[in-house]
């Protein structure tokens, strides 16, 4: 019996990635990373900025994701996101811009703890990408 399931990553403009031969996906959910295998129970969750890793039979792919929602149901994982890019095609300028804009946002006083946490996390992730 195969242990493969489907994944659909869509952003508002188009369908970003669609595969039917993945066996594991690791998503950065708000409350920690979740690894999803076949026959996971239906779940809906939020994403925080982070790296989503897709393991398929032939290859392993990693994407940076800014925010989004995941839904897993009937062995199909749907990821809705407004901002995503492949780590291999990462644009250095874009990353450094994102870091500085997030840091500028952080220096404001009127943000709440949750937002501060998310922003801090975002900066961390982006920095770790730019080092590699």
């Amino acid at each position: 019996m195969s242990n493969l399931f489907n994944i659909d990553i869509v952003n508002p403009e188009q369908s970003f990635l669609s595969k039917d031969n993945v066996f594991e996906v690791v998503i950065p959910a708000v409350e920690g990373e979740i690894g999803i295998l076949k026959d996971h129970i239906p779940i809906i969750s939020f994403l925080k900025p982070g790296i989503i890793r897709v393991f398929s039979e032939s290859e392993e792919k990693s994407f940076y994701i800014e925010d989004g929602i995941v839904e897993f149901k009937d062995n199909t994982l749907s990821v809705l996101t407004s901002s995503i890019f492949d780590l291999k095609e990462a644009d250095k300028n874009f990353i450094s811009e994102s870091i500085s804009s997030a840091e500028a946002e952080l220096s404001k006083d009127n943000i709440d703890d949750q937002k501060r946490f998310l922003l801090n996390h975002k900066v961390e992730v982006l920095k770790s990408i730019s080092i590699n």
């Binding site: 952003n11 508002p12 369908s15 708000v30 129970i41 809906i44 407004s82």
Partner: protein
């Protein structure tokens, strides 16, 4: 009776107009293909989003404490209308149809003594509405600078709506746009986005057996998801609108080209007739001149 020279000038001017409308038609056709593609590509996102929200709202048991964006404020006094139109004219009845639809809605609101607020997106809508409804228009947004429709623009509109909702500036929000059916037909649509209409809820009553695990809890997901849904709906409306605009322009310009062709034919016949008449007249003059000698 126009002189031969006048006729010749008119024929040339109609012909050059025809060239312009023909070119506009071609451009619209090329843009239409792209816009249509984009609209199709954008569909999965909004569909999935709808699904997730539907599943979520089913599992919410405590309706009273549910996010207000979903169930509404409990009142229906202030209506906010988002009218999405094009930035350019010369596209047949495209803008007028949306405005017509919106106006009939406005009249209903006003006759029920409710407060009306209007946000126009696209300059043509603003131009047409400002004469009659100037005092109701709270904001006018135009994306003339951005070449393509992108999510960021839609998100901007979405954020304005959310901000106004949080300040309790309205109870009900509806958007107006043209739905793209095919090149010839575009249907003006009125869609309520706040509170979310749950009319399709019971289409499949049996599909309720999905017990989802939520992380974090339902309420938190919903309150984060609903604002995004608004932007998504607006984005969808903008995509449909742009495809409709190009389709509408293409049809309008096609008609214009054909009409110009007919006009040229008619003018040419008239031109030939009067030329022939002039020749005949001259001949008669010569003949009768010769006869009298």
């Amino acid at each position: 009776m126009p002189s031969l020279d006048d006729l010749r000038k008119r024929i040339t001017s109609v012909k050059s107009t025809q060239k312009i409308t023909k070119a506009m038609k071609m451009v619209a056709a090329a843009k239409l293909r792209k816009a249509q593609e984009n609209a199709e590509k954008g569909r999965p996102y909004s569909e999935k989003m709808n699904n997730v929200i539907l599943n979520l709202s089913k599992s919410i048991t405590d309706k009273e404490n549910a996010p207000k964006l979903l169930v509404g404020t409990g009142e229906e006094k202030v209506h906010l209308c988002i009218v999405l139109t094009a930035d350019r004219g010369l596209c047949g009845g495209f803008n007028t149809n949306i405005i017509k639809k919106a106006k009939s809605y406005f009249e209903k609101i006003i006759s029920e003594n409710k407060t009306l607020k209007i946000i126009t997106v696209g300059s043509k809508g603003y131009d047409q509405l400002k004469r009659q409804y100037k005092s109701y228009i709270v904001e006018n947004i135009s994306f003339k600078e951005s070449k393509n429709i992108n999510y960021f623009d839609a998100d901007k509109v979405g954020k304005i709506i959310i901000e106004k909702f949080e300040k309790n500036e309205f109870d009900v929000c509806a958007i107006f746009y043209n739905k793209f059916k095919n090149v010839i037909t575009q249907i003006p649509q009125e869609q309520q986005i706040v509170p979310l209409n749950e009319n399709k809820d019971d289409k499949d009553g049996s599909g309720n057996d999905n017990d989802y695990e939520f992380e974090p809890d339902e309420d938190e997901i919903l309150s984060n998801l609903l604002p995004k849904n608004i932007s998504t709906q607006i984005f969808k409306a903008m995509l449909e609108n742009s495809a409709s605009e190009q389709g509408s322009r293409m049809t309008a310009m096609d008609n214009a080209t054909r009409n110009a062709g007919e006009l040229v034919d008619r003018l040419t016949i008239e031109y030939n007739r009067s030329r022939q008449a002039a020749i005949t007249k001259e001949l008669i003059e010569i003949i009768s001149g010769a006869e009298s000698l």
